[in-house]
């Protein structure tokens, strides 16, 4: 894999619903082992982009390359070993235990009955331990707090053992402490396990501090780059109406105009 430094590459990508494009001309390359945030105002198409990258909805133009070939040339089963997801929609059955939930992440590797091999079991146990879910593993999902459930869902994605993990708003409904906890966890996963992690978020300030790359969906040039470059180019200034919110490049934070 030495020659292949980018796991995901979008060229001239257009996304939207039906034949209505909401964003076009997106270009970015995501290297292995980096944390990348997709930010932008409400309704701009953050989730649509993430769902398009995750093959949950069709792209309207351009190309997406996953690994060494186009996303569309991969079968469902191949994609399942390349991309894992954490979505905003609640899981269908909250009656699953944490251990059952995480074990389902092994499905792309199990036989026709979904039996876990010894190797799968070791992997699942490691995910449970890594995410400090050991004491919760026999709890049902409906018994967990929002923060615990989010951690369990990320652990399930980790159990799927894919080079790319996509998360849709992993920090909503969490307080500041748990937001930081999840984002630091994602950063650690990206850096120490060499995963490429892409997530959508409204926490622009936190993302600036923690991410390696950011995609800013601003309905115009939709810039992509590392946070410092984006600040210098003034891309965050243009994100919100200036008379309401201003961006302070020194602190990397937004100030309300009084």
């Amino acid at each position: 894999m030495a020659h292949q430094t980018h796991i995901l590459e979008a060229n001239n990508l257009a996304i939207g619903y039906g034949n209505q494009e909401i964003i076009s001309n997106l270009d970015f390359k995501l290297p292995l082992g980096e944390l990348c945030a997709i930010v932008g105002i409400n309704g701009v198409g953050k989730s649509t982009l993430l769902r398009t990258l995750g093959h949950l909805q069709p792209m309207l133009g351009g190309t997406i390359n996953l690994g060494d070939k186009a996303l569309l040339e991969h079968s469902n089963k191949e994609i399942a070993r390349q991309i894992s997801l954490v979505l905003t929609e609640p899981i269908a059955s909250k009656n699953l235990t944490v251990a059952e939930l995480i074990a389902l992440g092994r499905q792309p590797y199990t036989n026709w009955l979904g039996n876990l091999t010894q190797e799968d079991k070791v992997h699942v146990k490691k995910c449970i331990d890594d995410f400090e879910l050991t004491h919760l593993k026999n709890k049902k999902c409906h018994q967990l707090s929002d923060g615990q459930l989010q951690r369990a869902l990320v652990a399930r994605a980790m159990a799927q053992d894919t080079p790319l993990i996509l998360l849709d708003e992993p920090t909503t409904h969490l307080d500041l402490y748990h937001k930081v906890q999840i984002l630091k966890l994602l950063q650690k996963l990206a850096h120490s396990f060499n995963k490429t992690i892409v997530f959508t978020t409204h926490e622009i300030e936190l993302a600036i501090q923690l991410c390696d790359k950011m995609i800013v969906l601003d309905n115009a040039s939709n810039p992509f780059g590392n946070p410092c470059e984006l600040i210098e180019a003034g891309h965050f200034d243009r994100l919100f109406p200036k008379e309401m919110v201003q961006f302070d490049p020194k602190s990397g934070s937004f100030k309300v105009v009084k």
Partner: protein
């Protein structure tokens, strides 16, 4: 993932209960046969001229096997529907699938009498009844599934299922109005439900179709487990959504259609049994739930049939009434106790 020892013990107890219920079902009936004689006849196996022997081998054993097939098939259909529609209140009856089968059967039983008077030569046989009911249940299932694609709200889905039930019963009402007394009576008796007096060929057909449904379900266990996360997650795990949906629909349509054709529209078994089973096994894993609902469904149906027989009396109650009398309070109790019924 649950403790293997506990699962084994639960399965052993469930099988033991099933064996007891089966023996009870066979030893009780309108004719009083001493338990020792029943035991003796079952062990000896041969069919002789002894009337007890005849009753047991020619009537009670086939009836008990039908009850087992009906209970297992309906319970499994309920489990499949609850997972497919991500809805704890889903079941063949609630979603209107049984109504669809009823409409198919009604069209055949009463409609043909209507057409036959015009000189048609349609023959109301076992196979055509099974086909008509299966087609009816497939159609309703497909419509419900198409609606479910557009209506994400599970409450709305159930109400739509109820509406389908109303529409089909209205159509059945119209058919009944125009049909002759004989076929109307035949249809009314069919709606009471019965697991008795199936011919050998009917039993074999029912058995074959239920087993086909079970086999299709077994091959869908992994996908069913993925569906527990929701469809998007299932797809991200490599599951082909379309294929899985179709297999589950075909399995449910076959089982519900065949059962409804031969035993009548039996309510609540499909809805209640998966929940009762989850009370025992406390898991969502279909590898455990699938065999468990088969056993539990058979057990419940045998018990209901034993009650419906009104032991030692010449009367037989409609089995549909018994399953509703037992099933409906169970569902109410589950809702009250757990408030929010989870699946």
């Amino acid at each position: 993932m649950s403790d293997h020892g506990a699962v084994r013990i639960s399965f052993a107890l469930l099988l033991l209960a099933l064996a007891c219920a089966w023996l009870l079902n066979i030893s009780l009936g309108s004719v009083e046969i001493p338990f020792t004689s029943t035991w003796h006849i079952l062990l000896n196996g041969s069919v002789t001229d002894d009337p007890f022997n005849y009753i047991i081998w020619e009537y009670r054993v086939p009836k008990s096997i039908t009850a087992i097939l009906v209970g297992s098939g309906l319970a499994l259909s309920g489990l499949l529907m609850q997972t497919l529609f991500r809805n704890p209140l889903a079941g063949p009856f609630v979603l209107g699938i049984t109504s669809g089968a009823s409409l198919g059967a009604a069209l055949l039983i009463m409609g043909t009498s209507f057409i036959a008077s015009l000189g048609s030569l349609v023959y109301v046989g076992n196979v055509s009844l099974a086909i008509a009911a299966s087609v009816g249940s497939f159609l309703v299932l497909l419509i419900v599934l198409i609606v479910a694609q557009h209506v994400r709200d599970t409450m709305a889905l159930l109400i739509i299922g109820l509406m389908f039930g109303s529409i089909t019963s209205a159509l059945v009402g119209v058919l009944a109005y125009f049909s002759n007394a004989e076929s109307l009576q035949r249809f009314v008796f069919w709606t009471y439900g019965s697991v008795g007096d199936l011919s050998l060929s009917q039993s074999l057909l029912l058995g074959g179709l239920v087993i086909a449904g079970v086999i299709l379900s077994i091959f869908s266990i992994k996908q069913l487990n993925a569906f527990l996360l929701g469809e998007n997650y299932a797809q991200s795990l490599g599951v082909s959504l379309k294929k899985t949906r179709y297999i589950i629909i075909i399995a449910t349509g076959l089982m519900t259609g065949a059962i409804t054709a031969f035993a009548g529209p039996i309510a609540f078994v499909g809805l209640a049994v998966p929940h009762l089973t989850r009370q025992i096994f406390n898991t969502m894993d279909h590898k455990i739930l699938l065999p468990a609902v088969l056993i539990y469904g058979a057990l419940l149906m045998l018990v209901c049939d034993t009650i419906a027989q009104l032991p030692n009396s010449a009367n037989v109650l409609p089995i549909n009434a018994i399953t509703s009398l037992i099933g409906a309070p169970v569902v109410i109790w589950l809702l009250v106790r757990k408030r929010n019924m989870l699946f």
